[in-house]
Amino acid sequence: MKPDMRFRRLQLLNDKIIMKRLLLILVSILTTSVYGKDYFVQDFGVYGDHVTLNTRSIQTAIDFVSKQGGGRLIFSPGNYVTGSVYIKANVTLHLEAGATIWGSTNPYDYIMDSTVKWKALIFAIKQDNIGITGAGIIDGRGFTTAINTLNLAHRGLIEDEMKYDRVREWKRPENIYFRECRNIKIEGITLKNPASWNQTYDQCQNLLVDNITVDSKSYWNNDGIDIVDCKDVIIRNSYFDAADDVLCLKSHDATKLCENILIENCVARSSANGLKFGTVSRGGFKNVTVKNLTVIDTYRSAITFAAVDGAVIENILVDGVRSINTGNVIFLRIGDRWGKGKKPVMKNITIKNVYAEVPLQKPDKGYDYEGPVEDLPRNISPSSIIGLPGYNIENVLLENIEIVYPGGSDSFYAYRGLTAAELDSIPEMPTAYPEFSQFKELPAWGFYVRHAKNITFKNVTFRANKPDYRPAIVSDKVDNIEFINVKTEEPEAGNKQQIFFYKSNNTSIK
């Protein structure tokens, strides 16, 4: 059996197991949340008048409902201002259509939680059977809060090193931060304008995020959703628009990992990456399935998997991606940044049924908090799979993929040729922040592979709209790479060699 067939089978098997398991979770979350009585916030002295600061009243209500055995705490249409509150066991906040929870703009109204060392509007720490549901809105008013936090720092009232002239992420409130919770349902709501990341689920289990809308571009580091070291997670039917990474899986703890995760039917817009594993990637990411993902107007990559801090990334299936007006399509990267000797691994990755269009212009132009223009020069970057010497990225299958590039690179502007010297001049950058553009000019316009093993391209088409001085594909120090029915289209290309091998073994083109 060919190596690619081997891991494909494994993959499919894994996929089935994940699906079964997740289906079970779904049932368990849905059934647990049916129980409990309904309570109304106005019965606890909470006012939806857009003025009253309700922090302590909402907390009183949550504590009460939890003590009564749980239920839904219902926010009727209205505007509820609050600072940090903690959801307790068996309590679901239900926001009816027309109900908005507004984050206070006073930084002192937010608690720096002692467990997670982070600020948030809605916390839950070690609570089970909780949720936020309904058609209402949570609006963090993060821009104003972030600026007010900055003002306090300038007055010397809070200490902060102010990296990039902004207060560090953990001193600005997120909308939601849940840690070590089980059976969580986030459904229907709209999450807007956090001052930092938007929503973090950290070491949680059995999480369902369904049918939510995220508008998260009010300040720097506005991620869409951060899943950190969680197990058994479903994110589906949701729309995300974020200034920073959108669907972001992280691993903060070297002894933990993200496992059994299904992301399906989601749309992502970002001034960073659409789907991202990392940047912090200590433990790992296992058994993740992503289906029917649409990425639009996104500055960096539609898909970035980074194992730069010792993470193990394995058994990942991405099936069905439509990436339009997005700066880069696929970026798989092993680095060696904060791993402290832990060996990074990336293997058994399948990405299939992808259609992507990469523009010449900045894809997130006009959005608030556009991604930063980086040090240049660099022509449009290819998709890439880049490991490190001694740390190959293994067993990657790319199937049924079509990527349209603008082409038209200018060799006087930036140039990387195909001589041994030029290819070896591409730096390894093991400790750098992983980003598709980090190597500046790369020598291919379609796909660049380096330090990898068992790579298969099957039914793949790369199209350049204008002539490019580079070949479509460069394989650099790759062991066992196979091209089956790979097409390249480039105007005026003539007999140009579009697949270039350098120091690669067991190569085949069919």
Binding site: Q42, D43, F44, N148
Partner: protein, 246 residues
């Protein structure tokens, strides 16, 4: 020689007192508009000053709306003429400390002063309106809703000075001292207290109390003192009829 030493000591002592740093409320973003709920900002200010070893938090003219605050040792609150601490009318804005609820709450503190010509006031009409409405909702327990906050409650505190303040429209007791020592109250006006069965100033198991120039125009009992409390000096503490309140 002894006299010189003593006066030198007093001089140094006064200098150190004078050096206690003043922090203005606006530094911490406190708003004097009467609408902004300043609870967390004022609390942050008190905590910050306490961490810096003590000092004075100054409020100048304006209405500062707030919920319950926890006082700290060596922190003085000065309400300058025209400054009003306005107590929130929402019961949930007061933290429950075992069996106490208060706008200003001190537990186990030393050297706490509240001084100035300013005002500490609540709004009984609004407070009881909203609290009774909550009772009608029959969710929160009756005993939770029954405990009405005082304007100031101190437990186990020593060397407390409350000087010059006008306490008005209190919800229950204006001031309450439990198991405290060295309590110095002077030049106060306590008025418009509309609650029948309250005490304007309550002492329980509190020693070394001095009271001077206090005018109490309030319903209920002006001063309630248990057997274990000990007042060492009273001077010119009267009610509207000019009668001594003790």
């Amino acid at each position: 020689m002894k006299g010189i030493r003593l006066s030198l000591f007093i001089a140094i002592f006064t200098i150190t007192i004078c050096q206690a740093q003043e922090y203005k409320a606006s530094l911490f973003g406190c708003m004097s508009d009467g609408i902004t709920n300043n609870t967390t900002s004022i609390q942050a200010a008190i905590d910050y000053i306490a961490e810096k070893g003590g000092g004075k938090l100054s409020f100048y003219v304006g209405r500062y709306l707030t919920g319950g605050l926890v006082l700290k040792s060596n922190v003085t609150i000065e309400l300058h003429e025209g400054a009003i601490l306005v107590a929130s009318s929402n019961i949930n804005d007061y933290i429950l400390y075992e069996n106490e609820r208060a706008l200003l709450f001190g537990n186990n503190l030393r050297n706490v002063s509240i001084i100035g010509k300013g005002v500490i006031e609540a709004n009984p009409k609004q407070y009881f309106l909203t609290t009774n409405a909550l009772k009608g909702k029959q969710q929160l327990q009756a005993d939770y809703l029954a405990l009405t906050p005082s304007l100031l409650t101190m437990i186990n505190c020593s060397n407390v000075k409350v000087e010059g303040i006008i306490f008005q429209k209190s919800l229950q007791n204006a001031q309450k001292y439990i198991s405290c020592n060295q309590i110095d109250l002077s030049n106060q006006i306590i008025r418009n207290n509309t609650i029948e069965n309250s005490g304007s100033v309550v002492f329980q198991n509190t020693k070394s109390i001095t009271l001077k120039n206090i005018f109490i125009d309030a319903k209920g009992q002006p001063i309630i003192k248990d057997q274990n409390s000990e007042i060492i000096m009273v001077e010119n503490c009267i009610n509207p009829k000019g009668k001594p309140v003790l």
